[in-house]
């Protein structure tokens, strides 16, 4: 057992526990600084992992003579690293957002920061999971942390309600997931994902395996908010504190997709026929549901929730490529490439949008709070515009290429099956609809004065944004633009990460 293999997770856990211990000696006014400390530590970890990944290898070389990238149920490959970087980035932005949000949060900041780090650890372990036990335990760590984070504003009925709804539905989803895992184990006799690639002893076993697999997909479908399992999204997104919603939208979803990608990668060709059909149906329904529900939505967080459901649908399109028969025209790598690029763009856009939300002063997040934002804070308006345009998938921003790659890979997978091309029609329809509701946000920002004429004059004052948040927002906006125009660097980097799926 090589400890350095798990160094990132260990660092996250130690930071979380350290924050809790430091909290004991920190007076109430100093608690915000713990958030800065946590974000700083995670930034160090991110920098180390991006620029000096050989540090970990070096230690394992010293201790065992060769580079170890695999432990039982755990793999530290380029794919896992990429996702860990995404999660770290998301966590850093969430922590900084939460520091600014602290006034509204009002309670137990240290625990909040620690739980964010615990959830991060779960996501990080999920990115590396190669067996069902690691999968389940890491998913549970993420979910349990989010149960608490969601209901953190316990003075507010809506936050508590969101927490309870997430808890009950999440527990049901976990039950489905664990039942599916049990069936898969019963059929294959192994907890490893790799066992999904082997033939079963008999037709009955195969039946159990298929059933188990469907239940596992359903359980993970809850985490990624795919269509029949999405009912929790609007209420939880609305009730949870804004930083938590952002983390839920990005981290929890990306972790679910990372697991699905690993899982689908190992599937036998005949199982892929089943999963391809199921995932295609899920993707179509998810896109349609998310897009249509978002149309009439006026609450910003719910709107982003429905938009997030639609994005899960687009991401599922990328997953189809992994479920195509081996040797089909687009390799699984192409779909993964698209998904991982899209997730990066989605992360930045969502984080930017929610950071902006944190700085708006309305208690309810109705679209009308955006009215006149371009006059009150040109920075917030510009960044929100960039983020929304990116999510809508318009060039030249990052979201455009992500969505384009996803649609392209899905088209190539589905083109041999003309009967399933309806999915492309649905997906393109979803894109068109999304333009409408995302444009609704832009309209509220720039031409929104007339929506609620009775708003008091005092609210049109300028919004002051703290310097650090200002810096982050500018950085997010620039990344969305820069990577959108020059995506080559990120795409090449992703090339290594998806090598696994070739």
């Amino acid at each position: 057992m090589n400890v350095m293999l798990y160094s990132m997770e260990i660092a996250m856990v130690l930071s979380g526990l350290g924050i809790l211990m430091l909290d004991l000696g920190t007076p109430a006014r100093g608690k915000r600084d713990l958030g800065y400390l946590a974000a700083f530590l995670m930034s160090l970890l991110l920098l180390q992992s991006v620029f000096m990944p050989e540090v970990q290898d070096g230690f394992s070389l010293l201790s065992s003579g060769h580079s170890i990238t695999e432990g039982p149920g755990y793999k530290l490959d380029a794919f896992a690293r990429y996702f860990k970087h995404l999660f770290l980035l998301a966590a850093i932005l969430v922590l900084l957002m939460a520091v600014d949000f602290a006034g509204t949060l009002r309670a137990r900041l240290a625990e909040f920061f620690a739980l964010v780090l615990f959830a991060l650890t779960g996501m990080s372990a999920a990115a590396s999971a190669t067996n069902f036990i690691t999968l389940f335990v890491s998913i549970e760590l993420i979910t349990v942390s989010f149960y608490v984070l969601t209901s953190f504003q316990r003075g507010q009925m809506r936050s508590l309600e969101a927490g309870v709804k997430y808890l009950i539905l999440g527990a049901a989803a976990s039950a489905v997931l664990v039942y599916g895992i049990a069936l898969v184990y019963g059929a294959t006799g192994s907890m490893e994902f790799a066992a999904l690639g082997k033939a079963c002893p008999s037709a009955e076993h195969d039946h159990l395996l298929r059933l188990g697999l469907l239940l596992v997909i359903a359980g993970l479908g809850f985490k990624i908010a795919a269509f029949p399992f999405q009912i929790w999204v609007p209420d939880v997104y609305q009730g949870a504190p804004a930083p938590v919603t952002a983390f839920l939208a990005v981290g929890s979803k990306a972790a679910g997709f990372a697991l699905l990608m690993r899982l689908c990668h190992h599937l036998r060709p005949d199982l892929r026929e089943l999963t391809l059909t199921v995932l295609a149906a899920l993707a179509g329904a998810t896109i349609l549901y998310g897009s249509l529900c978002a149309l009439r939505q006026r609450n910003l967080k719910r709107l982003f929730g429905y938009a997030g459901i639609a994005s899960a649908g687009y991401l599922l399109l990328g997953l189809l490529a992994l479920n195509a028969q081996p040797g089909a025209s687009p390799s699984g790598a192409q779909g993964c490439h698209a998904m991982m690029f899209y997730l990066a763009g989605y992360l930045i856009a969502v984080m930017a949008a929610f950071t902006v939300l944190c700085h708006l002063d309305g208690e309810d997040e109705d679209l009308s709070v955006l009215a006149g934002l371009h006059a009150r804070s040109p920075l917030l308006a510009t960044v929100l515009t960039l983020s929304v345009v990116s999510m809508a998938g318009l060039p030249p921003l990052m979201g455009f290429l992500g969505k384009f790659l996803l649609l392209q890979s899905a088209f190539e997978v589905l083109s041999p099956h003309p009967a399933q091309l309806w999915l492309m029609v649905v997906a393109l329809g979803g894109v068109v609809i999304s333009l409408y509701y995302y444009f609704g946000i832009l309209r509220a920002i720039y031409w929104g004065g007339g929506i609620s004429p009775g708003r008091p004059a005092g609210e049109s004052e300028a919004i002051t944004v703290p310097p650090l948040a200002r810096l982050l927002l500018i950085a997010c906006g620039l990344i969305l633009l820069w990577v959108g125009i020059f995506p080559q660097a990120l795409l090449e980097w992703l090339g290594d990460a998806v090598a696994l799926f070739r």
Binding site: M1, V13, L17, L20, L24
Partner: protein, 134 residues
């Protein structure tokens, strides 16, 4: 075993497992019977002469008032939760202890980390004053 309980021989001979648990089941039945039999007996045999005083919950002492089912304080729940969590901890420590003689030093360290992580939770509860009854 077969001599003592001839019917146990009916279980497949390799099934010492079943036989052991059958004994457990028999013991369970006997234990329940032992407790229930006197109650039944007294219900059947004892003479009944009910009166107001005899039927009150306590024949002597203060009259009980109100409902025993009152709303608990949330602290009870935190105690119960801590109990469950350490109970679950035992579930994982026990197999480790059973296999201890065959395990490497790494396993000792791993279990040490496991226990320390949970001890951190306990320390947190303690220092935050959750365990002190107010």
């Amino acid at each position: 075993m077969g001599d003592v309980f001839p019917q146990l021989a009916a279980i497949s001979p390799d099934d010492a497992h079943g036989a052991r648990y059958l004994l457990l089941a028999v013991m369970g039945v006997v234990a329940v019977g032992f407790a229930v039999a006197p109650l039944l007996l007294s219900a059947l045999v004892a003479p009944r002469k009910p009166s107001e005083i005899k039927q009150s919950p306590f024949e002597c002492g203060l009259e009980s008032k109100g409902d025993a089912w009152v709303q608990f304080r949330v602290q009870y729940y935190l105690y119960a939760l801590a109990f469950v969590i350490f109970d679950v901890e035992v579930v994982f420590i026990y197999p480790w202890a059973a296999a201890f003689t065959n395990l490497s030093t790494g396993a000792l360290v791993a279990m040490g980390v496991f226990v320390l992580l949970l001890a951190e939770g306990l320390a947190y509860l303690w220092i935050k004053g959750v365990l002190s009854w107010k």
